[in-house]
Amino acid sequence: MQRTNSDPSDIEIDKWQVQLRKGSLALAVLATLWNGERYGLEIIRELQRVPIFSVAEGTIYPLLNRLKTSGFIASEWIDGGSGHPRKYFRLTLAGRRYAQDLARTWSEFAQGMDSLLIPLHKRNQGGRRAS
């Protein structure tokens, strides 16, 4: 994610990606909990499958705690035989509704943006053909 050159457009893209990640990380975290409870490292490993969500691992816990304070997730310390207790997170009913609302909004946003980007994609394809 980090770029070393000083091209202004690259710097701007980096900033934009940071904002994009900030805005969508909560939904991504809620999505990882959709199928059941998970502990911190499990959530992080799930997120790391998508490169844009490769964040410092310690930053996930404050977000989880904020979601918990808002009532969207619940947590519980469980000593499941791993040698140490783990904090498991799960979606609450309000969290499930919130995740669905966010997912719907995200889909609408992505569809709208895709429709706007069609000319850019066509131009890229045309450029490739020409070369």
């Binding site: 911190g40 490292l41 691992e57 310690g58 930053t59 816990y61 705690n65």
Partner: protein
Amino acid sequence: MRPDALERYLQALRRELRGLPIEEVHEIERELRSHVLDRTDGDQSEMKLLAALDSIGDPREIARINLQLRGAADISNAGIVETAPNPRHALTDIGRALLALMLSVIGYGFAGCWLVVALTKPLAHGSRRLVAAARPQWRYIPFAGPPSRRCGGAGTARLVDRADRSADRYGICRYHLPL
């Protein structure tokens, strides 16, 4: 192996988390401790431990995000953030309050003094007012015609009304002319 690497990390984090309730700080520590144990998967070698701490991120940054998100959650819940007492902040607040009190006392003192002076000055005999009033302008008008030392001589009566004339101690007429 340096078993205190995790403790040093958590100590640095604790320092940066001053202001959060102590229970929350303990919970954050517990979460990260558990995370490191998961990350190292029982391998307590120095390399594994340092790699796990590195993947968590800089303690200052983690503390900053914790404080930031904690603040955002409190605002969204319209609650009041209960923070640990901070003597430095308390002293600063007391200093500001004393400064405001002192400035207001000085301001009211000045205003009171001016009011008292303004009210008493007109009553005092032979005093001058605080604000200089427009004084009548006296003009010496040379007499027309033959010299006369009596006020209201010939040639002057046409210029001004009699009531506005007066003679000074030398008998020279002065005429009070409105500006």
